[in-house]
């Protein structure tokens, strides 16, 4: 019974994180019905999604317990995400045209 206690407390923590994730997911749905611009909506939803992903990574995928692996994952993921941002200038140009055309 004593040996089971840490695992049981681990389950309690899992349920706590799960409830947090449900609340955050709920917040995303609330944001979807707010009377705000698509840009503001996107920003708010993205922030909530990043917090959700962080919680899942740290506690469900146990990255909180392994500092080395945590930095490995963060550095690789952030590098990939930054690398993917190169196309926004073209994307904006397609909808707005080149600045000197105005």
């Amino acid at each position: 019974m004593t040996a089971d206690t840490p695992k049981s407390s681990g389950m309690t923590k899992d349920v706590g994180v799960y409830i947090c994730l449900l609340v955050l997911a709920g917040i995303q749905f609330v944001i979807a019905y707010q009377d705000i611009s698509a840009k503001q909506m996107f920003e708010r939803m993205l922030i909530v999604a990043i917090v959700e992903a962080g919680l899942a990574l740290l506690f469900f995928m146990h990255l909180a317990d392994n500092r080395g692996l945590r930095w490995f994952v963060i550095i690789f993921t952030v590098a990939v995400l930054f690398g993917l941002q190169y196309g926004w200038t073209d994307s904006n140009r397609l909808i707005n045209g080149v600045p000197w055309a105005h």
Partner: protein, 211 residues
């Protein structure tokens, strides 16, 4: 201990050097590390899809907002999030040595996965019945349908693969061929599928909700 064992360049012993070379990276077992590398690679795949979706949505003047209700996607989200909890229970019970409960939670997770896939397909059928296909969109730019079916289809493919893995690993664990570590590695994959959904829902569904 021989003289050669004592020092290499006068700093560490040969035994220590061997241990350093054979120690798992970040103190993570090889199988688990392989799963992490797969997850990082798959993150790049999904990030590529979602960012490309962002580029195209940003560049399209009349982007459609075809979703009228959030009920289905909310239920799907609830199911997937709950399945992440149930697989954690499976791993915890496996670590405690309770094989029967671990197997039961694995199968419950698989059932949630199947339920998610069924709801997803039901939603697809609804959209297809309204005329949306991979190359045709009744509400405007065909790119919407292409991106919607591609991104959600890729995710659905991952869910389907995950369900097969959950059942296969669960059965092998029950049969004594796999242990708690194998369950944990499968759980990592399943959490990743859940994590991707956290970004797919707001970007693909909620931002395209008609008000």
């Amino acid at each position: 201990m021989s003289q050669a064992d004592l020092t290499i360049h006068g700093m560490v012993s040969r035994t220590e050097a061997t241990e350093m070379m054979t120690a798992p990276t970040f103190s993570v077992a090889a199988k688990k590390m392989a799963m992490w590398l797969f997850i990082i690679a798959d993150t790049a795949t999904f990030a590529g899809c979602l960012v490309a979706y962002g580029f195209i949505r940003n560049a399209s003047a009349n982007w459609p907002r075809p979703f009228h209700s959030i009920t289905n996607v909310a239920i799907m989200t609830l199911i997937l999030l709950t399945s992440s909890l149930t697989i954690l229970f499976a791993v915890r019970h496996a670590e405690m040595g309770d094989k029967a409960k671990a197997f039961r939670w694995m199968m419950i997770t698989a059932v949630f996965g199947i339920l998610f896939a069924v709801l997803h397909l039901r939603e697809w059928m609804g959209m297809i019945s309204e005329g949306a296909t991979l190359f045709h969109n009744p509400w405007g730019t065909p790119l919407f349908s292409s991106l919607f079916f591609s991104i959600t289809g890729l995710h659905l493919l991952h869910v389907t693969g995950g369900v097969i893995a959950l059942i296969a690993v669960g059965i092998r664990y029950q049969g004594g061929r796999y242990n708690a570590d194998d369950l944990e590695i499968t759980a990592l994959y399943w959490h990743f599928v859940d994590l991707v959904w956290m970004f797919v829902v707001p970007l693909v569904y909620l931002l395209n909700l008609s008000h």
